[in-house]
């Protein structure tokens, strides 16, 4: 069953030099109990997509298209209704747990806040449930009293509190924006395991934003590769990894240090993607990747390539798919 369907989402911002298009015709689908990974470099529109879903776009940005959460278009309902959905039906986990938590409010009260607001529980009932939720994410009340403040916890523990906050009201959709980027690798593994368990236990849908292809490979069912505000390749994670049809997907993959322990692999030059992501103000009229792509032809500068279907659910937008895959 489709939980989240994003159709033709565009986000625009009026600037001094005209209108900038930050997100350009983004389409994404997510079913219940599934995980969708969004990957790309910084500045590609991953976080912008997350903010658009949550209705948290900064002032002055206009979103068009449709964001359907269980059939309800989040872009056409008002702020009041959105407030009722945020935290209740959909919740978000942010990258930096220290800034996502209020430093002067005890963790118990922060986790209970959503329960009191959405479910109208009393403070006592809410804190009781908050304690249970904290225990579920690995912070039992006996060792982590509700009266603790965020600064008394480690980074991984703080991220657990943020996850507990997001999950207290049992949302259907969880959006996690780089939830483990600020954490150590062993803690990252624990947090990703925890999120995966909870997604299954609560039968949620998860949108996982990350720049780490390893995390995508391990934790997601489907993935979308974003570049300069567009989805350039999407499909089931194993198929995308197997084919890597778009040159950008290939470039990202090739730029990673190898995972082999061979002595030969040491100090081998890494493949790089020359240049960087173009700003929203200087995007080319054709394919956004044209300036950094080694497969680019004249055609690529003229018009943007359409998203072409490669298999049942796998598509990529590139004019030179056959040449890329022929390698």
């Amino acid at each position: 069953m489709t939980l989240l369907a994003i159709e033709n989402l565009c986000v625009e911002l009026d600037g001094p030099d005209g209108t900038l298009r930050l997100l350009d015709d983004v389409n994404l689908f997510l079913s219940k109990g599934r995980c969708l990974g969004l990957v790309g470099e910084s500045g590609c529109g991953k976080s912008m997509t997350a903010l658009a879903i949550m209705g948290l776009l900064p002032r002055g940005m206009r979103a068009s298209g449709r964001i359907l959460l269980e059939g309800e278009d989040l872009l056409s309902i008002g702020e009041d209704r959105l407030c009722g959905l945020r935290g209740r039906k959909m919740a978000m986990v942010f990258q930096e747990p220290m800034t996502a938590l209020n430093p002067v409010v005890p963790i118990g009260r922060q986790v209970a806040e959503g329960l009191r607001l959405h479910l109208g529980l009393t403070r006592h009932e809410a804190e009781l449930r908050a304690g249970k939720m904290l225990a579920r994410v690995g912070l039992p009340v006996e060792r982590f009293p509700l009266g603790l403040f965020p600064h008394q916890l480690s980074g991984g523990q703080r991220q657990r509190v943020v996850i507990a906050m997001a999950l207290t009201c049992g949302p259907d959709l969880l959006v996690a924006d780089e939830p483990t980027t600020a954490l150590d690798v062993t803690v990252q593994a624990q947090i990703l395991d925890l999120i995966a368990e909870l997604v299954e236990e609560f039968d949620m849908g998860l949108v996982l934003i990350t720049h780490d292809l390893g995390v995508v490979a391990e934790s997601t069912d489907t993935m979308s590769v974003m570049y300069a505000g567009k989805v350039v390749e999407d499909g089931p994670t194993d198929e995308v990894f197997q084919r890597m049809a778009h040159p950008y997907t290939r470039g990202l993959f090739a730029a990673m240090p190898s995972h082999s322990s061979d002595l030969d692999a040491t100090r081998k030059r890494l493949t790089t993607i020359p240049g960087r992501v173009p700003d929203a103000s200087s995007r080319p009229s054709g394919c956004p990747f044209v300036a950094r792509c080694s497969f680019a032809t004249d055609q690529c500068s003229d018009a943007p390539p359409p998203l072409e279907r490669l298999a049942h659910r796998h598509s990529a937008s590139c004019f030179n798919l056959s040449r890329v895959e022929g390698l």
Binding site: E41, A189, E200, R267
Partner: protein
């Protein structure tokens, strides 16, 4: 290990560094925490040595102590046979020409009010005060060129550059004194994977071209595996395992090293799928 003819460039011997904690009561004795506890290793000229570990394990304290920015409680740091902490201040200052540092955050480590030329040339003011303006500018231009930037970039401000370019500027600042040893503390952690590859390539290229020695500190195991010859794994202020990088990664002996390596996500969906695995109890680590 140390033959008479091939003395290691950097020797760290039994280094200990404590930090004092705030006193619990006004008249109580302040307690202290041992951040680095008896660490020893040596790095041969032209090699790169990696130090991996999680936050709080003492790797940055170790880096700062090797740079002579912190004074150890006991132990020695020998650069080219000279004990950093036994040298008089002026001699240490002069010796600093030989070892430089690159920091993690390319946004925080460059003064936003200075033009790139001044940022890069700053070490020269102390080490080679006799240089006139033209010579200085020439040297800045050459150094910028060697890190893949243009000499004209000297007249721009750090904010005009992207993160990867800023890290190149930070590397240029380290290179301008023509050092033998560069201590790099998480130099690519703040960068996107494509830009990270560019900076890593630059580091490997400089190492080959100039015969530089690197002490490379990172929490990212795949980066360390890729560019270092030898590696030490730190845990709670101590080195728990050390050896040639490919050996340590292929056949880790210490359980902590193994858990670190296992925690690195693999970019291959067939190898492991967390969601499938989730129904089984999660593998606890540590």
């Amino acid at each position: 290990m140390t033959g008479a003819d091939s003395k290691p460039l950097l020797q760290v011997e039994d280094l200990v560094r404590d930090y004092r904690l705030p006193r619990k009561s006004l008249f109580g004795r302040p307690e202290s925490v041992r951040a680095v506890n008896g660490v020893s290793f040596s790095v041969d000229r032209g090699k790169s040595f990696g130090i991996v570990g999680e936050s709080g394990c003492g790797k940055s304290t170790l880096a700062r102590t090797v740079m002579g920015l912190e004074t150890p409680v006991s132990g020695r740091v020998l650069l080219d046979g000279q004990d950093l902490f036994a040298l008089p201040a002026l001699a240490l200052r002069r010796l600093r020409q030989k070892f430089q540092m690159v920091f993690q955050d390319p946004y925080g480590s460059l003064d936003p009010r200075f033009k790139v030329e001044r940022v890069i040339a700053e070490p020269l003011e102390v080490l080679l005060p006799g240089l006139n303006r033209r010579e200085r500018r020439e040297r800045v231009g050459e150094t910028l060129d060697s890190v893949g930037l243009k000499p004209v970039d000297a007249d721009r401000y750090p904010h005009e550059f992207s993160g990867g370019q800023r890290q190149r500027i930070a590397i240029a600042r380290a290179l301008i004194t023509e050092p033998e040893l560069i201590v790099a503390d998480e130099p690519v952690s703040a960068l996107d994977v494509s830009v990270q590859a560019q900076v890593l390539n630059l580091i490997m290229e400089l190492q080959e071209r100039r015969g530089l020695t690197f002490l490379f500190i990172s929490h990212d195991l795949s980066v360390v595996r890729h560019i270092t010859d030898e590696v030490a794994v730190m845990y709670a202020g101590e080195i728990v395992e050390t050896g040639p990088t490919h050996k340590v990664f292929a056949d880790p002996q210490h359980s902590y090293t193994r858990s670190l390596i296992d925690a690195v996500p693999h970019p291959d969906p067939r190898r492991s799928r967390r969601l499938r695995r989730a129904s089984q109890p999660a593998g606890g680590i540590g």
